[in-house]
Symmetry: C2
């Protein structure tokens, strides 16, 4: 009987693993709580109305069927390592011979219940759309406020976390705010909106070269944004952001990009870090003591080295590696050489017509309009399916036409 | 001081009234609970995955600002006729000199609490998307069902109401089901899905000529649909539809298009019908005893005649008429002649490449592919804004390419 491979998660890592097993001596089933693969690197643009969610979501069945891979809609609720079975929330049990854990990460509020309650975040279609609706709603509320202080609090947007997501979100938010002010709410010119980035470290974009970090910070400021360095959000009640230093900041909206942790099921595996939940595996990405279980993507850790980057190229490479290891194990051939990540470099977009790019392998430090066009091309290429690409192109055309953002719809509920 | 005109509702009727007041001797404020105008005639296509909601929603501020009309996001909670003021749910009070009530209609479950709880409906973006998600989810659940009876109940879609919305929805649903079965779920060919239209009267499309009614029914059957005539839904527990006659129908999904009533605030006005809540006004659309309050669109009734049709052309004509009457009243010129509806005819689309069209004025009875192309052109022309038209065209291109429907995303929550 053919070996059963179960892949938990249809993100970049899980999809790459499943596709790389195509034609192998096994049946493959991908389990995901959503019926679509999400192009997460552009999710922040859903939160700023530059893209509609449909442009970056592709049905998993459409992507998996050509590879002969089964799909199962469901939320994984437990992994029984000794019985070699996955339990779904609906009660179904799916046995496996090999398991690929590609569950990605979840927002980490570091135990702050007030943040979990009041802050907005970007992890998923519904949450990104909720953030967009909140930003647009804040402008509507500001229009209806008789008191200047209230109006100002509705028009202050705090963003926690100055990593790649935080910087991309803030620059896009600044562009959105500017367009809304000019095109939709000229009456609010007298109470200019504030966008405040709160970054714990001394620079934005940790891991990038100091010159690019400085360029990103300068760009944010030139677009009208403010940056608070060396301080963290200590508390938030929905009205005022309390930081670990400095004055309280009245802000009706706080968007949290300051931390993720591995999915709880990943964090329950042997070798998981008690802090971030990421799993240190053997050199072939197998869970210690369970070489039939592989951890790939965001949930993967390594010992004695800086942590792996939680980005799409890493997810895809680790996913493909796990598929290769599974093929070897089934074919009873020697396992592949230990996993090595080949870093293709990092790009961060800084609003319209600007980006920074760093490719360590080639000592490249690149910024400006040409980097932005490279970013656009790369992302359009990577988005799955012609329909999604067309939608993305049309939305971006509307965005850069500057008559407004592509999506200005406030969703309810 | 300029007279204050308040328009409740930014649908076809309210938007037409507000725009027709452009340049008049008054300030105009449109109040809506959504920040967008919705092209409701195509909402059923959102429910069947043919269109994304963004394609048929246009920001009201974008539509109103060029006409110099203010917009206020908020839910109207009360009308104080004697104080001439509208209360919003947030507590704000907006005084008016003239009021245009264009609040449209809401789903009418005729007091069936079980239907309100378990049935799906199409009145609004979120509900239409919820219906689409349900249909797609039903296929996923059917894939996971070991028992044939359960699988069959998940794959049975009951639709109550054989009016224009019900017929358009059913034909689109049949096309969706067929595409899903062929492209995404070939394993389910053995348990063919059922689509059952439940129609109280003896024919679908009441008000149309018998030949077109028969054509619509024949089309539904030729696409694989079933029709139950002369029976009503009596009860639904989420599992089995109980009709007033005939055998119980196990169906996990019931979509309700069998009735609307006027918005509760309209139904509270003098002259409202206790049944459907629609208001019989004076011949100039003014509320009896309150000629400064106009009712337009779906909420409007008339005495001693068949009821007005609840369609976009009627909404726009009545909205424009109210604007004309308000201009006359402010200018202290004689009121316009009594309102007369000029019926441009009705069109109902029957899936892909087929439609029926009836224009009583010219004794036109038209059906087939040419009617469908006329329908496409008319609807594309009427959709507001180039961006929305482009999105619609792309989605329809994908739909007719038959590789799948434009939107196959299951939303959560």
């Amino acid at each position: 009987m053919a070996k059963q491979v179960v892949v938990l998660g249809g993100g970049f890592a899980g999809l790459a693993a499943a596709r790389a097993l195509q034609g192998g001596p096994c049946t493959v089933t991908v389990v995901d709580q959503n019926n679509y693969h999400l192009f997460q690197p552009l999710l922040y643009q859903v939160a700023t109305g530059e893209l509609q969610a449909e442009a970056i979501a592709a049905p998993l069945r459409r992507l998996l069927a050509p590879a002969g891979v089964d799909f199962r809609l469901g939320r994984a609720a437990g992994i029984d390592l000794s019985a070699r079975a996955v339990q779904l929330a609906c009660g179904t049990v799916i046995p496996y011979d090999y398991l690929v854990v590609a569950l990605g990460s979840v927002t980490n509020f570091f135990g702050h219940a007030d943040l979990a309650l009041h802050a907005f975040d970007l992890k998923g279609v519904e949450l990104a759309e909720r953030t967009r609706s909140r930003i647009l709603y804040a402008f509507e509320r500001a229009m209806a406020c008789p008191a200047a202080a209230d109006r100002s609090a509705w028009l202050t947007f705090a963003v926690a976390g100055g990593g790649a997501t935080g910087v991309e979100f803030v620059t896009a938010l600044l562009a959105l705010v500017r367009t809304l002010l000019r095109r939709r709410y000229p009456e609010l010119q007298a109470t200019p909106p504030r966008v405040v980035l709160i970054q714990g470290g001394p620079a934005v974009l940790p891991g990038f070269a100091p010159s690019l970090q400085a360029a990103a910070a300068a760009k944010i400021r030139s677009l009208g944004g403010e940056i608070l360095f060396g301080t963290h959000v200590a508390a938030y009640d929905g009205l005022t952001v309390q930081c670990t230093s400095g004055a309280p900041l009245p802000a009706r909206t706080l968007v949290w990009t300051a931390g993720v942790r591995a999915h709880p099921l990943t964090a329950a595996l042997p070798g998981a870090d008690p802090g971030n939940g990421r799993v240190a595996t053997d050199p072939r990405l197998g869970v210690i003591g369970h070489p039939e279980v592989f951890v790939v993507g965001d949930g993967l850790n390594r010992r004695d080295h800086p942590p792996w980057p939680q980005v799409a190229p890493f997810a895809m490479q680790s996913g493909r590696y796990a598929a290769r290891a599974i093929r070897a194990a089934i074919g009873q051939t020697p396992p592949p050489p230990p996993f090595v990540y080949r870093d293709p470099g990092s790009m961060v977009v800084l609003g319209r017509l600007d980006a920074v790019c760093q490719i360590d392998r080639w000592h490249v430090r690149w910024r400006g309009r040409s980097a932005w066009f490279a970013w656009i091309g790369l992302h359009l290429y990577r988005i799955m399916g012609m329909h999604n690409r067309l939608l993305t192109l049309i939305d971006w055309g509307v965005d850069s036409g500057n008559r407004g953002n592509a999506v200005e719809i406030i969703r309810r509920g």
